[in-house]
Subunit: 516 residues, 2 copies
Amino acid sequence: MVGAVGGAAVMYQAMGMMGLAQASPYSGPIKLDDAPAGTKVLVLGAGIAGMVAAMELRDAGYEVEVLEYRGVAGGRCWTLRAGDTYEELGGAVQKVDFAEGNYFNPGPWRVPYNHYGILDYCRRLDVELEALIQINNMAYVHSTKAFDGKPVRYREINSDFRGHISDLLSKVTNQGALDDVLSEEDKANLLAGLRTFGALNSDNQYVSGNAASGRRGYERPPGGGVDGAPIANEVLDVSTLLSSGLWSRLATSESLNSSMPIFQPKGGMDMIARAMAANLGDLVKYEKRVTQIRQDETGVTVVYEDMANDGAEVTTAADYAVCTIPFSILSQIDHDFSGPLSSVISTMSYNTSIKVGLEFNRRFWEEDEHIYGGTTYTDLPISQISYPSNDYLSKKPGVLLGAYSWGATAYQFSSMPPEERVSRALEYGSQIHPQMTEEFKAGVAVAWHRVPWTLGCYGAWQDKDAQYADGVAMDRRIVCAGEHLSYLPAWMEGAVLSSLDAIGRLHQAATGNAGN
Amino acid sequence: MVGAVGGAAVMYQAMGMMGLAQASPYSGPIKLDDAPAGTKVLVLGAGIAGMVAAMELRDAGYEVEVLEYRGVAGGRCWTLRAGDTYEELGGAVQKVDFAEGNYFNPGPWRVPYNHYGILDYCRRLDVELEALIQINNMAYVHSTKAFDGKPVRYREINSDFRGHISDLLSKVTNQGALDDVLSEEDKANLLAGLRTFGALNSDNQYVSGNAASGRRGYERPPGGGVDGAPIANEVLDVSTLLSSGLWSRLATSESLNSSMPIFQPKGGMDMIARAMAANLGDLVKYEKRVTQIRQDETGVTVVYEDMANDGAEVTTAADYAVCTIPFSILSQIDHDFSGPLSSVISTMSYNTSIKVGLEFNRRFWEEDEHIYGGTTYTDLPISQISYPSNDYLSKKPGVLLGAYSWGATAYQFSSMPPEERVSRALEYGSQIHPQMTEEFKAGVAVAWHRVPWTLGCYGAWQDKDAQYADGVAMDRRIVCAGEHLSYLPAWMEGAVLSSLDAIGRLHQAATGNAGN
């Protein structure tokens, strides 16, 4: 058995690992050798980008000082827990009335498998991860314009779309419609492939029966004992399926950043920020509001208001700085960045987003509807309902993501007081889960345009192609970093990769290797 | 915003929950009312079926005695942990040399979301679950006959197959090949649907570029800083894709029993068995080897060898019995079941299966290849490699499923001594993961035909259509139950549903309602 296939392994080993051959922007911990002694770097902002920069520069031998506006680290990597209070821009205050141990991630909530940078920091800092269920075949797809507004199980639409397109393509293949593009062997392989892919019968047809029901669900599922034999249910006819529009949801979890496997830190997203902050210890100075940034050929000078000390004005200096302050905030700070970078700072807008966390007395989605984790997609303004991927089967109150929207809807929600955002999310959600009305316990709603430390969700370029080089370029003694300066906007990985690239260039400058 | 869609919700509520309308063989805890006082039921076997029967009958008021051959409960719901010893039929003994805390599930390893029965017992007994990653886009599909034996990432084959079939179907749709089966509106919806489903460009073509790479992976993924812009990689041409045969792996996780979400108990599958056994307490008598089963119109008499007491022969009696002993074992026990049931018992064969657990000094699949959980499929005799869905990022040794095979391969492995099974699994596996050779730490190999308490993996009927009614029918005072008497063979859910159906009928008989 072994000999016949041994050759491939030898050759494969000789070629090296395919996985390693595949280029990645993160290839392991950064190496910054020969940092010049006594060189100080100021890091502005203790979000993910700032803390990555601070940890690596410290480890390389630089003197590091981090100034953070808030009383805690993390920036958008943020978790609201039972008992927390959150005051948004405009003064509305929300007390998080969740049951002990429950939490909600208003910002990032997922760590995709292909975000090697942030995953490696989790590994190095011992942040425990658990799988987040992205695809749930039992969750719903929902359109107010299809099936009389009734939600349909994802698996039904997924199975029927795969089945019908496989059936149609088989039909035309057998009719010769592909004879000019496929060989006979290709066609035979295609038909075999479609049979498997679409759960077709031996005539390559997608029809009601146990093959289809084995994917989309049964009228009576296979059981045990006397009436154990299954009864198939009926597949949707192709026209009903196509006119529903619900097929638009079938690719959501195919994109790299949303495909399985994908993770969440156990206990809340800010466990990552907490681990980084603990690693940095007292290098991070909290409640320091930066008011002025100046630089010359010899160094950087930053003025800040020390909110931990009655707002006293303090000036600090360094040889270099990494500025991770979002441009939405930085544009309001007195700085002397050069013209091209200033132009990027002042023209970058920040998209908003609304997220509503809803706590219910019991996990009706699990108990009544057999939905464990995953996401229901809807054309209602809440856009999606995402069920918790932790504490499955718990009999205690559970928190779900009751709304996660962008664009016009997010603006509308942002203009409401928080309690109205919550009640709207409940109203919409109850069209999918009627139990919401009775089981509601507590809610919290974060509108990102009103989050004081970012004034938005992520940076949107006026003209990325034209401006990107100016935005990322080191400006004399200062380099900017963050998700906004990456091609993974709104993701923590964008912040990590931007930060590593930025400090690599800062280090080159500091060691006189800027010409590289 | 709310009013426009309010009507649908009202109607939906009036119609009741879709989820509840969908029939299931498990609709909540069984209700067995008015059990006749002083009625005793003997349960043979403390696997899942036997323990479910015992718990429910006890709760209904029956006197219950459970006889179990082994020293622990669970049957095939079994976990091998560091330090365990396992002696198989033939006398080969394996000591599990794993690192502290590591384990391996030789039998069931997954609890699908649609197995409502076993999930409800987990809920009721507070068994904690965690998500098992079934689909991993980063895992491999591998054929010794394709790509020179090199493994390919699942996402590349998945994206390219979806893309190419969507491209082909779009093409023929635009050429009019479907004009006789689809309306103009259908065709427009189909084209839009295929664009999304297949990651096609605006001309409905699947071509190399960022749209395809956003699913299949990039030459250089999106990054941060100076060189942040992504570079797409090349899609496979349709003929190469089709001739690879690797598309045969794309439906594995579409079937209901293997689709997301799917779970594992934290700490090992036998946490379910342990919870049931703890619930039953001293109702379960361990190390009792049943040697004879007799019944008449008034009751059941069972003789067993008390292995906990020097093999003393003991006779016990009851009004009724539930027999969950696998037919592979029961056929060797002296019994007086009626002709039709005896015929089923003697003609049922048990399929075998081989599972090999391999422990490595480090999680090279995570560290080197970015594979977190999920399964690699191969045409090598090991069939699959499944990576642990727990302790992600751990720096300690990790255990993966290094082989899981059926049929001829399983017979071949069964005939080898355990250590050779392990070394073969390593040899094959190293063709996909060359690191296996150097990182190997310990292994354990279970061949199900050699497991003393089942002599096989699951029951296979000689002629299920013809025999099923005889197999499940109550035989005077005894009813049989287990996965073998269900339409979910080899699954714990089959055992649960079979058991609940069996005790429902036993209860009807005991309460004189047998005519129902």
